[in-house]
């Protein structure tokens, strides 16, 4: 006899040997998969209300039979969470331990630090205000560099080069070098005299 299984939780339960409808078979398969996952410790978070109600029954049966063990890692994690939760959600200490409640309750320390910082900042502002605005330092403009100490063309010094003197480049170079050396010496010695 096929059964109508629309009302899973409160409807009558068919006899063990009664024929199942395709709908019931599909629901039974879904439930079987949920049981598989639950036994493997991977209970899915989302499921129908009916499935959840039936899975709760299955879990109660297993728990009453001593089959519901809390893994050691999970247990330690829950204990740690509980200890942290108890001290007000503090992030924990560097060693992973828990701050003793007396120490956790020293809430005046942050306020003291903040207050002291504010006082120092106010004092600094007052000091600046009392000293007045700083006068801008006068910057002496440097004297202009004489032309003979600047980089400049050598044409005025050498003048036109005649065809006969074209090959006498060394004389021209010596002339230019001597002229530039004068400027260098003057500038060098003048700098040495300055304070």
């Amino acid at each position: 006899m096929a059964t109508d299984d629309d009302d899973i939780l409160t409807g009558p339960v068919p006899a063990p040997d009664a024929d199942a409808t395709p709908s019931e078979r599909a629901r039974a398969k879904t439930f079987a998969d949920l049981v598989d996952k639950t036994l493997a410790g991977r209970t899915p978070p989302a499921m129908s209300t009916d499935d959840r109600a039936l899975l709760e029954v299955a879990t109660v049966i297993r728990a009453a039979s001593g089959k519901a063990e809390l893994p050691a890692a999970k247990r330690r994690s829950l204990v740690e969470d509980a200890l942290r939760q108890a001290v007000g959600g503090a992030g924990g200490t560097s060693s992973g331990g828990v701050v003793p409640i007396e120490r956790a309750r020293r809430r005046w320390v942050p306020w003291a630090v903040a207050g002291t910082s504010t006082l120092v900042a106010v004092a600094a502002v007052l000091l600046l205000w009392l000293r007045g605005a700083p006068t801008a330092p006068t910057v002496a403009m440097p004297e202009p560099t004489p032309v003979h100490q600047l980089s400049r063309p050598a044409d005025p010094l050498i003048g036109p080069i005649s065809r006969e003197q074209v090959g006498d480049a060394s004389t021209r170079i010596d002339t230019i070098y001597a002229d530039r050396l004068d400027g260098y010496r003057e500038r060098r010695l003048a700098r040495g005299r300055k304070p």
């Binding site: 899973i8 939780l9 409160t10 339960v13 068919p14 006899a15 063990p16 040997d17 199942a20 019931e24 078979r25 629901r27 039974a28 398969k29 439930f31 079987a32 049981v35 598989d36 639950t38 036994l39 410790g41 209970t43 978070p45 959840r52 109600a53 039936l54 899975l55 709760e56 029954v57 299955a58 879990t59 109660v60 049966i61 297993r62 728990a63 009453a64 039979s65 001593g66 089959k67 519901a68 063990e69 809390l70 999970k74 247990r75 330690r76 829950l78 204990v79 969470d81 509980a82 200890l83 939760q85 108890a86 001290v87 331990g97 828990v98 701050v99 003793p100 409640i101 007396e102």
Partner: protein, 208 residues
């Protein structure tokens, strides 16, 4: 699971840890919480909730409440476990009150298991947990008696012995698909019996 009563040395150690925690060193609570987390989860919370995720949350809240209120605990020469257990049961009641789940099953699950509460009895945590587990199992067995033999067998093989579906089907001489249907109906039938029995015995406040 066999158990050994707590020795006087263990009780003294537990008392020292409690006193240290009451003095402000919460780390002293850690061994106590780790020792009793499993019995609280497996025999107090999960059998009354039936949902592992919710049970873990309740356990966490229970342990946190215990740490927060440790100063209120008065050592009476026996384990702190009964005090922790009572906190856990109160949390479970809170969950059932807040949830929208079936009242019938919820009432059946939170039905109090009688535990020796004589203050002079020095029953330790393991004895209480064993006693509670046995009481849960007796209630399960009572409901099992009232369902069909094949349903009982399906539940026994799959949920208690935790055999794979294939093996369960083979033992019963049916296909896996048929076994799935059998287990589905078995859990439905058990659920009805589990709730009905509690209501008949006056354990529930009202029906669905």
């Amino acid at each position: 699971m066999a158990s050994e009563p707590a020795t006087a040395v263990e009780l003294e150690e537990e008392q020292r840890q409690v006193e240290e925690a009451q003095a402000g060193n919460l780390d002293a609570m850690r061994p106590i919480l780790e020792r009793y987390a499993q019995p609280l989860y497996g025999t107090v919370i999960l059998p009354r909730l039936g949902d592992a995720a919710s049970a873990e949350e309740v356990l966490r809240d229970t342990l946190a409440t215990a740490v927060e209120k440790i100063r209120r605990f008065t050592w009476q020469g026996k384990s702190i476990y009964p005090w922790l257990r009572q906190i856990a049961i109160n949390k479970v009641y809170d969950v059932h009150r807040q949830s929208k789940r079936s009242r019938r099953l919820a009432d059946a699950m939170v039905h109090e298991v009688p535990i020796e509460s004589d203050p002079d009895s020095h029953a330790d945590a393991q004895l209480i947990a064993d006693q509670e587990r046995a009481a849960h199992r007796a209630r399960i067995d009572e409901a099992m008696v009232n369902i069909a033999e094949r349903y009982r067998l399906a539940i026994e093989l799959r949920l208690i012995q935790e055999l794979p579906r294939e093996d369960c089907a083979k033992k019963l001489g049916i296909t896996i698909g048929t076994f799935d249907v059998l287990l589905f109906r078995a859990v439905r039938a058990f659920r009805k019996q589990f709730g009905e029995r509690t209501i008949d015995s006056g354990g529930a406040q009202d029906g669905d």
